[in-house]
C-alpha cells in the first residue's frame, strides 16, 4: 500500500495549480467566459507546454506516458479552479478513443498532434432520446462505393465547435440498444452535410447538437474496425467518467474549504457562524463526503492503472459506477450545503459557490447520473453474485 505521489506527480500538481491559480483566479473567470465558446484559445499552447495535452498518451506517440493518476491530479486541480476548456473533449474523449480504437497509423498521425496542441478533437456519442445508455445509437453509417454515408443526429457534443475533427459513434449494423454494429468515424468538422447548432452550457462551457444529412466520408475515416466500436467507446466513457469524478472531488474540496473560511469569519448574533453547532456538524458532513469521495476515486484510479491494455472487467466497471454514483450524489449535496452556508451571498454570481454547483450539476448529467450508475452497479453486483453461485 502506498498512498504517496511520486515526486514527478507532486511537481505536476504544483505546476498545474500554480498556472490555474494565476491564470484562472475566480476574479478573471467572468472575463474568460465572455470569450467565444468560453475559453481562451491562446492558452491551449500553455496547456501543451504544461504537459496536459500529451500526458496520457504513450511515448511512442510523443506522449508523456502518464497514468490515470496524472489525469486525476489534473482534473482535481481543474475542478478546484473551475476551468472550462476543451481539455476533456480533446484529450480524454477524443485522444482517448483514438488511442483505444485507432489503427497504428491513425494513432501515429493523430496523437502527437493532440499532444502538441495542433489538433483539437470532440467525441459525438450521445443522442436525443438515448438517455445515458451508450448502446442507444441510431445515427446510421451506410457503406457505399466511396466509403460511408452518415445520417442522423448527435446531441451535447462538448466543444465540437472548436474541434478540428469529430469522432462520431455510428451504427453500421444492428439496432439501437445493441452493442454490436457500432462503428467510429473520424470526420472533419466542416464536412459537407454536417450542420451544427452550437450553444453555451449552464456551466460556462460549449456544446453542439449535430445534424448529419447524407455526410459522405471515405473508407479511411473509419476509426478501428467496422462494427467494433462499442467496447472502445465504453472504455473511454468510463475513463472520462472517472476523470469527472476527480474533477468533482476537486470541486468538493474547494467548496468545503471556502465554506469553512466563510463560517470562520462571518458573524451573526455577535458570534462566528462557525460557533453554531447546527452548522458545525453540517460542515463536518461535507468534509466527510470529500474524504469518502476522494477514496472512491483513488480506488477506481488505481484499478484503472493496473488494468492498462486489458479489457475492462466487471469489477472495474463496478468501481467506475461506485465512484460516479457516490461522488455525484455527495458533490450535489456538498454544493447545496455550500450555497446554504453562505446565505444570500451563496446565491450571488460574484462568488464561486454557485458556479461550482452548476459544474457539479453538469458533471452529474454527463456519462450517467447517480441513479444510472447505482442501477448499473446493482446489476453488476447481482451478476457477480450469480456467477459465484
Amino acid at each position: 500500500m502506498d498512498f504517496t505521489f511520486t515526486e514527478e506527480q507532486q511537481l505536476f500538481r504544483n505546476s498545474t495549480r500554480r498556472f490555474l491559480e494565476e491564470q484562472y483566479a475566480f476574479e478573471k473567470r467572468a472575463g474568460v467566459l465572455e470569450q467565444a465558446h468560453g475559453f481562451l484559445e491562446s492558452h491551449w499552447q500553455n496547456f501543451a507546454e504544461l504537459g496536459w495535452l500529451a500526458m496520457p498518451f504513450a511515448e511512442e506517440y510523443d506522449g508523456l506516458g502518464g497514468s490515470p493518476v496524472e489525469t486525476m491530479i489534473l482534473m482535481e486541480e481543474m475542478g478546484r479552479n473551475l476551468l472550462t476548456s476543451p481539455y476533456l473533449a480533446t484529450v480524454v474523449l477524443g485522444g482517448g478513443i483514438v488511442a483505444e480504437a485507432g489503427s497504428e497509423q491513425q494513432k501515429s498521425a493523430l496523437l502527437p498532434q493532440v499532444g502538441s496542441g495542433e489538433l483539437k478533437l470532440a467525441l459525438a456519442f450521445a443522442e436525443q432520446g438515448g438517455g445515458y445508455d451508450l448502446t442507444q445509437i441510431r445515427l446510421r453509417a451506410i457503406k457505399n462505393d466511396s466509403g460511408y454515408l452518415l445520417d442522423g443526429t448527435k446531441t451535447t457534443v462538448f466543444y465540437s465547435v472548436v474541434a478540428d475533427k469529430i469522432i462520431v459513434a455510428a451504427r453500421t449494423a444492428g439496432q439501437a440498444g445493441e452493442r454490436e454494429g457500432v462503428s467510429l468515424f473520424l470526420i472533419d468538422r466542416d464536412a459537407a452535410g454536417l450542420q451544427s447548432r452550437d450553444y453555451r452550457t449552464q456551466d460556462g462551457g460549449s456544446a453542439s447538437d449535430l445534424d448529419f444529412k447524407a455526410v459522405q466520408v471515405p473508407e479511411e475515416a473509419l476509426l478501428g474496425r467496422e462494427g467494433q466500436g462499442f467496447l472502445p467507446l465504453q472504455r473511454v466513457i468510463a475513463k472520462a467518467a472517472v476523470a469527472l469524478c476527480a474533477e468533482a472531488v476537486g470541486v468538493m474540496w474547494a467548496i468545503s474549504e471556502q465554506s469553512g473560511d466563510f463560517l470562520r469569519t462571518r458573524e451573526q448574533f455577535g458570534q462566528k457562524l462557525g460557533s453554531f453547532q447546527a452548522l458545525q456538524h453540517r460542515l463536518v458532513d461535507v468534509y466527510m463526503k470529500c474524504q469518502l469521495g476522494q477514496s472512491l476515486v483513488y480506488d477506481v484510479v488505481c484499478a484503472l492503472g493496473q488494468q492498462a491494455g486489458e479489457p475492462f472487467g466487471p469489477e472495474l466497471l463496478r468501481k467506475v459506477c461506485a465512484a460516479k454514483y457516490q461522488v455525484g450524489l455527495d458533490a450535489r449535496s456538498v454544493g447545496q450545503e455550500g450555497i446554504q452556508f453562505h446565505g444570500a451571498m451563496g446565491m450571488m454570481t460574484e462568488l464561486p459557490i454557485g458556479h461550482y454547483y452548476k459544474r457539479i450539476t453538469a458533471i452529474n448529467s454527463t456519462f450517467g447520473d447517480p441513479r444510472f450508475h447505482l442501477r448499473r452497479y446493482r446489476e453488476l453486483m447481482i451478476q457477480d453474485q450469480e456467477t459465484v453461485a
Binding site: G131, Y199, M347, T366, D369
Partner: protein
C-alpha cells in the same frame, strides 16, 4: 374527522377556477409555468388589475378597505387554485406585507395615502430589511436614520432587496438609536424610491437573474409622516409583519403544479424504446416527493383548520416553510435531472427544444434559482431554531 371541504367552499373553489380559466392571460400563465417567480412588472400589475376588477387583488384586507371578507377556507382555496393554475403569486411586498402593517399600526392619513396605490397595483414596494452585516441577525441592522427638522436623514445601505429596481417605494427598518438593546432603536419607515440620494445597484444571482439589489442611501430625506408607529418601536412592527403569512408559505399548490409538470415530462421524455416514466428508479423519487408533499399538505390543513383555526397557529408555521421549500427544491431539481444532457443547455442556446412544455434552460434556471428559498424569508436554519425554542421549549 372529516377532510372534505363544505359544499359552499367547493362552490367557491369552482368559481375561482372558472374565473382564472376565463381571465388569466396565456403569456402570464406560460411564464409562471416555467417556474419564473419574479415576473416583469407589467405582468404583475396586469394580473393584479384583472383580479382587482373582481375585488380579489387584496383579498386578506378588511372588506371596507377593498378586501374580500373571506373565511379561512376561502383564502386557502383561493391561494391554492391560483397556484394550481399557474397564476402569479400575489404582489408580495405591498399587498401582503406593508398593507397589513399600515392597517394595524398606521395612522388614518397614512392609510389613506398609501393603501390606494397598493390596491390598484399602480405602486409597487420593496422590503428593506437585510443589510450586508444583518441577515439572520436582523436586529443588528446599522443603516442610520437621524432626525433633523421634520425628517429623518438616512445614510447607509440595504442589500438583497428584491425588486428594488422596479419598486416605487421601500418600507424598511432603520437604526435611530444604538444606545440600548439592538431590538430597541429600530424605526419603521416608508421611502419614496425617487427621493434624491438613493441609488440602486443590481446584484446578479449565479444563474443570471436580476431580482435583488443593493440600495445605497446618501443623505436621503424621509419625512416623519412616513414613519409607521413610534420612533424606536419598529421591531414590533417587523415581528408582526414576519408572522403574517399563513396561507401559502408551504406553496403546496405551486408544488402540486410543478409535480404535475414533472410527471408529464417523465412520460414525454423518450429513453430508448420507452420513456423516462418506465424507469422505476426515477419514478421512485417522484413518488417519494409526492408522498412528502401530501404529508405537508395535510399538515398545513391541520394547522389552518384544526381546533382554534389559523389563529391558533404559532411557531408551527415555521415547519411549513421548511418542508415547503425543501419539497419545491426537490421537484425542480428532479425536473432538471430528468432532462439529462439537454438540461445542460445554457440560457443563450436559443433553444428550440421543448419537451412537454418544458424548456431545458428554464428548468435549469428554476432549479438553481429556487436554492434561494431555503435562505430567504427566514432561513430554514433560523426556522428550525424557532421551532426548537418556541414549540419544543429547548
Amino acid at each position: 374527522m372529516d377532510m372534505k371541504f363544505s359544499v359552499e367552499a367547493e362552490a367557491f373553489r369552482a368559481e375561482v377556477c372558472d374565473f382564472i380559466n376565463d381571465n388569466l392571460p396565456d403569456d402570464i400563465r406560460h411564464k409562471v409555468a416555467q417556474e419564473e417567480m419574479i415576473l416583469p412588472r407589467e405582468m404583475m400589475v396586469r394580473w393584479h388589475k384583472i383580479l382587482g376588477k373582481k375585488g380579489w387583488s387584496c383579498p386578506s384586507w378588511p372588506k371596507d378597505q377593498g378586501g374580500a371578507g373571506w373565511s379561512d377556507e376561502q383564502h386557502y382555496l383561493f391561494e391554492r387554485e391560483i397556484a394550481l393554475s399557474d397564476a402569479p403569486r400575489p404582489i408580495p411586498y405591498g399587498v401582503v406585507m406593508l398593507a397589513p402593517c399600515l392597517l394595524e399600526f398606521g395612522t388614518q392619513a397614512q392609510q389613506e395615502k398609501f393603501l390606494p396605490g397598493i390596491l390598484s397595483g399602480d405602486e409597487l414596494w420593496c422590503q428593506g430589511f437585510s443589510e450586508p452585516n444583518a441577515g439572520s441577525d436582523l436586529a443588528s441592522l446599522q443603516c442610520r436614520a437621524v432626525a433633523e427638522g421634520d425628517s429623518y436623514i438616512i445614510n447607509g445601505s440595504k442589500t438583497w432587496t428584491s425588486e428594488a429596481h422596479i419598486a416605487d417605494g421601500m418600507f424598511g427598518l432603520f437604526r435611530t438609536d444604538s444606545s440600548g438593546r439592538k431590538q430597541q432603536g429600530i424605526t419603521f419607515l416608508m421611502i419614496d424610491m425617487k427621493t434624491p440620494g438613493i441609488s440602486v445597484t443590481p446584484l446578479m444571482t449565479f444563474e443570471g437573474t436580476h431580482e435583488v439589489n443593493q440600495v445605497f442611501f446618501d443623505n436621503v430625506r424621509v419625512p416623519f409622516a412616513n414613519r409607521i408607529g413610534e420612533e424606536n418601536q419598529g421591531w414590533a412592527i417587523a415581528k408582526y409583519l414576519l408572522g403574517l403569512e399563513r396561507f401559502g408559505t408551504a406553496e403546496v399548490g405551486r408544488s402540486l403544479a410543478s409535480l404535475g409538470r414533472l410527471k408529464k415530462l417523465a412520460a414525454a421524455l423518450s429513453v430508448g424504446e420507452g420513456c423516462l416514466r418506465d424507469d422505476p428508479d426515477f419514478m421512485n423519487e417522484v413518488a417519494r416527493v409526492e408522498i412528502a408533499l401530501r404529508a405537508l399538505e395535510v399538515t398545513e390543513q391541520r394547522f389552518l383548520f384544526g381546533p382554534g383555526g389559523s389563529d391558533a397557529m404559532g411557531a408551527e408555521a415555521s415547519m411549513l416553510k421548511i418542508r415547503g421549500t425543501e419539497i419545491q427544491q426537490d421537484i425542480l431539481e428532479l425536473t432538471h435531472q430528468a432532462l439529462g444532457y439537454a438540461g445542460q443547455r445554457g440560457q443563450d442556446s436559443g433553444s428550440v427544444l421543448q419537451i412537454a412544455g418544458i424548456t431545458p434552460e428554464k428548468a435549469a434556471m428554476a432549479h438553481y434559482n429556487f436554492r434561494k428559498t431555503s435562505i430567504y424569508a427566514g432561513s430554514n436554519e433560523i426556522q428550525k431554531t424557532i421551532i426548537a425554542k418556541a414549540v419544543l421549549g429547548l
